[in-house]
Symmetry: C2
């Protein structure tokens, strides 16, 4: 996902590598708000430069929802199957030309040098039924623009190269490089 | 609901009073579209001046959804309990100041004289739990602006006097009067 060779002076840690802390609730109105909230909380808890992502699916026929509610659209956080089934049911009568959707990821980097927030988008359409077993979330019903397969039918490498999250993290590279090579 | 005394030269029929016909699907993008579609279908089938309503709940924190999907928000048409439970779950972390919502009704009158479409709105907020057993749909979780009770705790007369549908039908009165007293 990140070009590790060009960031070789950075050591990447995950939440599993640091002492547990209270993760900030995702109460923001936007992906950017939530990414910033989470990265600030991680930086405050660890003192280390912190990257956080908040992402979701914006569906045109639902006025941009599920949006920041993507992970709990059906009411229970993280129930991918329920969320996807609900989305398909809500769009049951929506014809192909109105099934446009965009995966959005906001990534925030918070460090002693300040804050950077970037956004990556992945446009596509919502399928009429799930296909594929890769990925997570709405991947089985998301058909990327210009693609015949769903996101769940892409390999991890194919997905990272074009996905919203891949694009957002790529947009964060200059800031990460600056951290890796302080002037 | 309608002021029958002032429309005494009209005979009001319901769908139960006319031969069955194929009701048009609610595939419009707006309440107005759907009301017009349904009134046109009724007029085409009966040759009688026809009034149709399409209505729903627009929730600010959901970018105006459920909107035209209000009756099937949880995936099954007309399951009020499921729709309401889903709405409450989606808004679980949304604070009071962001729980604003508006009931909207569009009413269409289609006759040999042409078409009239009007809109009625009823502003309020979404409660944290259902209260009351009157009304239908989202009434148990809708608190009208300036009201301490939910719409499901109002009498039918109280509700008709101020509701979105009552307001829309009131706005249709001049056109109905014109039909009743042709020049």
């Amino acid at each position: 996902m990140l070009d590790r060779a060009r960031l070789s002076s950075l050591t990447l840690l995950s939440l599993e590598d640091v002492p547990p802390y209270q993760e900030a609730p995702e109460t923001g109105l936007t992906f950017e708000d939530n990414a910033r909230i989470k990265a600030r909380a991680a930086f405050a808890a660890t003192g280390l430069a912190s990257v956080a992502d908040d992402s979701g699916l914006e569906v045109g026929a639902l006025n941009g929802m599920p949006g920041v509610l993507s992970a709990r659209w059906a009411g229970v956080h993280g129930d991918d199957a329920a969320n996807t089934a609900l989305l398909l049911a809500q769009l049951r009568d929506v014809p192909d030309e109105r099934r446009g959707a965009t995966f959005v990821s906001a990534c925030a980097l918070v460090s002693a040098s300040g804050e950077v927030v970037v956004r990556g988008e992945w446009p596509g359409t919502i399928a009429h039924e799930p296909r594929g077993d890769g990925g997570f979330g709405y991947d089985p019903v998301f058909i990327p623009a210009g693609c015949a397969r769903t996101a769940a039918q892409l390999s991890p490498e194919e997905k990272d190269a074009v996905s919203h999250r891949g694009r957002a993290l790529a947009a964060l590279l200059p800031a990460l490089r600056a951290l890796a090579s302080p002037s």
